[in-house]
């Protein structure tokens, strides 16, 4: 039998502000009313300060070619990196390029992670490219992309 440790939420404790690094988009995002519309091109431009990113074999992006269901699409990103103080992956950004708000998640890592790998499930509104944009500790940007076909079923 499998016993799972169960941790209940402990309620509101700390005010989170200073501890979570403010997103580079925070100011941009504030200007938007209603849904967080934010194109991939715009995000890429802001994050890389217009430099753009280089597609790199060091970045592995795993997503299904055909999604069973657009509401739950598994995505895994792995980056080849020693994860030492002098050379590590600072941030893994994941984008759904055609979603209204293309930003899915930005994961800020530290050498304590020891391995530059992240996975989650995202929502895709339609067939589109999923992009992993990687910010390295030396300030360079790498990327990988994959197209995901979304078939939406309604019966059953």
């Amino acid at each position: 039998m499998q016993r799972r440790e169960f941790f209940k939420k402990m309620g509101s404790v700390v005010a989170v502000s200073a501890v979570i690094p403010m997103m580079s988009f925070a100011e941009e995002a504030k200007k938007l009313v209603g849904p967080n519309e934010f194109s991939y091109e715009k995000a890429l431009n802001i994050i890389t300060s217009g430099k753009g990113a280089t597609a790199s074999p060091k970045v592995t992006l795993k997503a299904p070619e055909i999604a069973e269901n657009g509401a739950v699409v598994p995505v895994t990103v792995e980056v080849e990196s020693p994860m030492t103080e002098s050379d590590y992956v600072k941030t893994i950004h994941i984008f759904a390029t055609k979603n209204n708000n293309s930003r899915c998640i930005s994961v800020h890592l530290t050498p304590a992670n020891a391995k530059a790998m992240f996975s989650a499930r995202i929502k895709l509104g339609s067939t589109q490219d999923v992009v992993a944009l990687i910010e390295m500790s030396d300030g360079s940007f790498l990327s990988a992309a994959q197209s995901v076909k979304v078939t939406i079923g309604g019966c059953g």
């Binding site: 169960f6 939406i152 079923g153 059953g156």
Partner: protein, 254 residues
């Protein structure tokens, strides 16, 4: 295939049907990705909640005691549901046993369709994870009758479209694509051993009987209530198809 074409036509009335098997068939790599998701199934949260709810009743120890057995034999026993129980004088599902246990403990039982019951059922069935389904439809007259009723309920055409479960889950149509969804083979899917499962389209935990209700709803068949003799019989019939396959709760479904 003549029969398949005929059924396909009647389905076409209900949903648009395409035979683009190729277009929608997933690669092995894709399938592997989804299989990996089982490792971190969101339903683990619901199962953990079910564990807490059962713990409030004394946990698996109290359940074993209620059933008059040792905790060691509990998983094998759980793997044989639905089963006839003298205590209830009928064939019951595991959720009904949990209701009985709550009742005897002087607690108001959770409704069969409540999320609490879904969670607790999932945890309780997960106690039998890796155990092979050992339902015995020939154990006694009650089980034989339930199996027969289940088969009848499965095969009988009802509703506005004149469909039965068999219309969509018969060997002749399995694999055809109904609105991008291949019609599943319930035996291959191990339906008896993989529900309660997380349904990605609903973002929630669903039980086997509730999944049946989903199909009834979609096919315009009158929805049969959870825990009713027909519903339990249907679970007996479908679970028998998975006999010998291992229980793996919570499942993860489209």
């Amino acid at each position: 295939m003549k029969i398949a074409t005929k059924i396909a036509l009647s389905l076409a009335l209900l949903c648009s049907l395409s035979f683009g098997g190729e277009q929608f068939s997933m690669s092995d790599a894709d399938r592997a990705m989804y299989a990996e998701m089982l490792e971190n199934n969101p339903a683990d949260l619901m199962v953990a909640n079910g564990e807490r709810l059962l713990a409030d009743l004394g946990g698996s120890e109290a359940l074993a005691k209620y059933l008059g057995m040792s905790e060691d034999t509990l998983p094998e026993y759980i793997a044989g549901f639905p089963r006839y129980m003298e205590k209830f004088k009928m064939v019951v599902g595991l959720d009904q046993v949990l209701q009985g246990m709550m009742h005897d403990a002087g607690k108001k039982p959770y409704k069969l369709k409540s999320p609490e019951m879904f969670d607790m059922l999932a945890f309780t069935k997960s106690l039998a994870n890796d155990v092979k389904i050992n339902i015995d439809v020939n154990a006694n007259k009650h089980m034989k009758d339930a199996y027969a009723l289940g088969q009848k309920t499965f095969d009988t055409k009802r509703g506005g479209r004149g469909l039965s479960c068999l219309s969509c889950h018969a060997p002749a149509v399995i694999g055809l694509i109904l609105r991008t969804q291949p019609l599943p083979d319930l035996a291959v899917q191990n339906s008896g051993g993989t529900w309660p499962a997380y349904r990605m389209t609903k973002s929630s935990l669903t039980t086997l009987q509730h999944r049946f209700q989903g199909c009834m709803d979609n096919a315009l068949l009158k929805v049969i209530p959870l825990g009713s003799p027909e519903m339990v019989a249907l679970e007996v019939y479908v679970t028998e198809k998975s006999k010998g396959q291992a229980i793996a709760i919570p499942g993860l479904k489209r």
